[in-house]
């Protein structure tokens, strides 16, 4: 099967994820969309790995999964903390780091 199909699909999913990150205000959904973007990257990596005929891309994909897991842990932790403090669950409301 031609690699370009995988790449196009990967780009498509990445764009969906990016659009979600840019448009949604709920941190939970943004995290989900980030997952989508990461996995789009994974898909492209594995596709290229198959195309090249070696395992380097797969190793990278595994690492990306580990990073994604860590990120979710921290992200969810932050969201739980916000919830406990009864802060608004809205990324636009949290803009204290402006210059």
């Amino acid at each position: 099967m031609d690699t370009s199909w995988f790449v196009v699909l990967s780009a498509f999913i990445f764009c969906i994820g990016a659009a979600g990150v840019l448009t949604r205000r709920s941190p939970l959904v943004i995290l989900l969309c980030l997952e989508l973007m990461l996995n789009a990257g994974n898909l492209a990596l594995i596709a290229f790995s198959r195309m090249a005929g070696n395992q380097d891309g797969q190793v990278f994909a595994l690492i990306v999964m580990v990073v994604a897991a860590c990120e979710v842990v921290i992200g969810l932790g932050i969201i739980v903390a916000m919830y406990r403090r009864r802060l608004p669950i809205d990324v636009d409301a949290m803009s204290e780091l402006r210059g």
Binding site: A18, V21, L22, T23, R25, I30, V91, D92, M94, S95, E96, L97, R98, G99
Partner: protein
């Protein structure tokens, strides 16, 4: 001990004295700092005597000893050591400097008693003596320049000693700036010599110079002229003399020590020390002789008209140093240095007497206010008169032998030098006149109220006012308190003045032509290579010169007596007839005004231009303002991006990454 070991001791005592007084000022009570400082200088004088005795033990051709403590600097073809040169000339200078300094220290112990800055004064004074001894003992030009600059710094510190007095600080700055002009000249001169001879130590330079330079070679002439600039700035010769009269703002012992007896004669010492070079560059030596003559005449005219007692003596100092410069420039080295010594005695004595009188006047220095102190201050009267007679060249006082010997040498050189000699004699007449004028105006005539108070055992206590401007003084940080010190009441002052008075009378014994000649024979090893031995006058010619000088001195003194005491009407008549000339003399030939217009104003205008145009428009406006504007614009853009909104960050990130990817795709394709 060898002469050089004594030489190091001569330097060590004042240095130790400086450190002890400067660091221990809090722990030393009362007059102790003064005694410590005086003891240090006294020991230094004893060491100088030791140096003299041990040098005389050496055979005559070996009386030039160099000793090096360590090497400052050694590179290819050049070395500068911390070395001293002990020869008759430096031994003589050490004796004069440490001897006169010791007496002036003694005088200061009393004179400065009520000053708040007592310890500071003695620390400065000891530092000055150390620097001066370093200057005269230095074995190479590098160390000479070090001593030269130290002396200038010490002079600055002491002129500005009463630093709450604006006129004193201004005078200190003026002295320092003019001295730095001389320092620069000396450095350039040393560089030219090093360039030609490849040596920096005296012995090396003087040995190599005759091979390196032909007579009147432009480079040696330039080097000697630069050395003369240094000598003229330090010795207050035309046109760099204006700092010395202003330096009288310092305490009177400072005027006696630095601005009469020692520091200002450094230029004379320098010319005598560099005599092998000046004999290779007769053109430069002639410049020295002409300027010396011009200075001695100019300063004598001003001294006749000035009314501030200390400034009269200051101009007299300038005039007498003119004689010395003339002497050493016409190869009358022995006579010039002899005059240096006798001048140190009688001029220090005159300043001490002036200090005593000023004490009795409660700080007033104007001759117009003084008069009739003869009965109130008999001791000061006698010693001051002795000093004035020596200054005038009254027969058989010390100044008679030294000054007139210089003029006899000058006349004997023949040619154009005769003119210089004649001018010297005319100025000698003026010298006698103003010396007499000082004595008659201070001690004769009807007693002023201060003199009457003193006769009854009281001291005048005026308000403390600056004698130059009349403004009230700030006495918090060091200024003579309510008590004044007159020689009549303080034995250290009396002792110092008595010693100097004796020396001023008998100092001439060392150089009576044809009778003693001790002085010239002692200096002979230093100057034996001089080419001008045959121009020295014989004993007969010298006596003729002395006789002429003695006659002029008597005429001058008689004229002063007649003019000031016998016939006061004459004073008014002459002042009416020569009003313009008198104004010129009183205003010191307008030198200060000329400098003000020619140097100070243009420099100040340049400074103002720099401040208003260059600094505020260009530097502040364009460079600083432009940079600030640029940074501010950049940061305001960066701040506008930092919204704190997560989604806009993400969008920027995405746009940036997409842009980069697109760029690389386009580049790659």
């Amino acid at each position: 001990m060898s002469p050089t070991a004594y030489g190091w001791l001569v330097l060590a005592f004042p240095l130790v004295g400086t450190l002890v007084v400067a660091l221990g000022w809090k722990a030393l009570p009362g007059r102790l700092p003064g005694w410590i400082a005086s003891a240090a200088i006294g020991l230094s004088f004893v060491a100088s005597l030791g140096m003299l005795v041990s040098l005389l033990d050496q055979p005559e051709e070996e009386r030039q000893l160099v000793s090096s403590a360590y090497t400052y600097l050694e590179t290819a073809g050049m070395s500068a050591d911390l070395s001293i040169l002990v020869d008759p000339l430096s031994v003589f200078m050490c004796l004069v400097v440490s001897g006169v300094s010791f007496l002036i220290h003694l005088y200061s112990i009393s004179y400065m008693t009520s000053d708040r800055g007592y310890s500071r004064f003695f620390a400065y004074l000891n530092f000055f003596v150390f620097s001066m001894l370093l200057l005269v003992l230095a074995g190479n030009f590098v160390l000479l320049i070090v001593g030269w600059a130290f002396v200038g710094a010490a002079s600055y510190l002491l002129i500005s000693f009463w630093y709450r007095r604006t006129t004193a600080t201004a005078a200190g700055i003026k002295a320092f700036v003019i001295n730095v002009i001389g320092d620069v000249g000396l450095v350039i001169g040393a560089f030219l010599l090093f360039d030609g001879t490849g040596a920096l130590d005296y012995v090396g330079v003087f040995e190599a110079a005759p091979d390196a330079f032909a007579t009147n070679d432009p480079q040696i002439v330039a080097a000697c002229l630069m050395i003369l600039v240094g000598a003229f700035a330090k010795s207050a010769q035309l046109p760099l003399h204006t700092w010395l009269p202003d330096a009288m703002e310092g305490p009177t012992p400072v005027s006696a020590l630095i601005h009469a007896a020692t520091m200002v004669t450094a230029g004379v010492y320098l010319i005598a020390r560099c005599h092998p070079l000046f004999e290779l560059a007769p053109a430069a030596a002639d410049v020295g002789a002409i300027i010396g003559t011009a200075t001695l005449l100019f300063a004598a005219t001003v001294a006749m008209a000035a009314t501030d007692l200390k400034r009269v003596i200051a101009y007299s100092t300038i005039s007498q140093i003119g004689y010395m410069v003339l002497g050493v420039s016409v190869a009358a080295y022995g006579a010039g240095l002899f005059h240096l010594m006798t001048h140190a005695f009688f001029k220090a004595l005159l300043f001490m007497g002036a200090g005593s009188v000023i004490g009795a006047m409660g700080g007033i220095q104007s001759l117009d206010r003084m008069g009739g102190f003869r009965k109130a201050m008999p001791f000061t009267f006698v010693t001051f008169t002795v000093g004035a007679l020596a200054l005038a060249g009254f027969p058989f006082f010390s100044g008679f032998f030294s000054k007139d010997e210089i003029l006899a040498y000058t006349l004997n050189r023949g040619g154009g030098y005769v003119v210089l000699g004649v001018v010297g004699y005319i100025a000698a007449l003026m010298t006698a006149f103003y010396a007499g004028r000082m004595v008659f105006r201070v001690f004769f005539g009807p007693p002023v109220s201060e003199a009457r108070e003193l006769e009854q055992g009281l001291l005048h206590h005026g308000e403390h006012a600056n004698p130059a401007t009349g403004e009230a003084e700030d006495t918090d940080v060091g200024f003579p308190g309510a008590e004044h010190h007159v020689a009549e009441r303080e034995w250290p002052m009396k002792a110092a003045m008595a010693a100097l008075a004796v020396l001023a009378v008998i100092g001439g014994v060392l150089g009576i032509p044809g009778v003693t000649d001790t002085f010239e024979r002692f200096l002979e090893p230093t100057f034996e290579d001089s080419r001008f031995h045959d121009t020295a006058p014989g004993d007969g010619a010298e006596w003729l010169g002395l006789a002429a000088g003695g006659v002029f001195a008597l005429i001058g003194l008689a004229a002063a007596y007649h003019y000031l005491l016998r016939d006061p009407e004459l004073r008014l008549v002459t002042r009416r007839r020569f009003g313009r000339l008198h104004t010129l003399f009183v205003n010191k030939w307008y030198f200060d005004e000329i400098f003000e217009a020619a140097v100070v104003r243009p420099v100040a205008a340049t400074g103002r231009f720099g401040r208003t145009v260059v600094e505020s428009t260009f530097v502040q406006g364009v460079i600083v303002g432009g940079t600030v504007g640029l940074v501010r614009a950049g940061t305001s853009f960066a701040r506008s991006i930092q919204t704190g909104e997560l989604r806009s960050y993400a969008a920027l990130l995405l746009v940036g990454v997409s842009g980069l990817v697109l760029y690389f795709l386009i580049v790659a394709s």
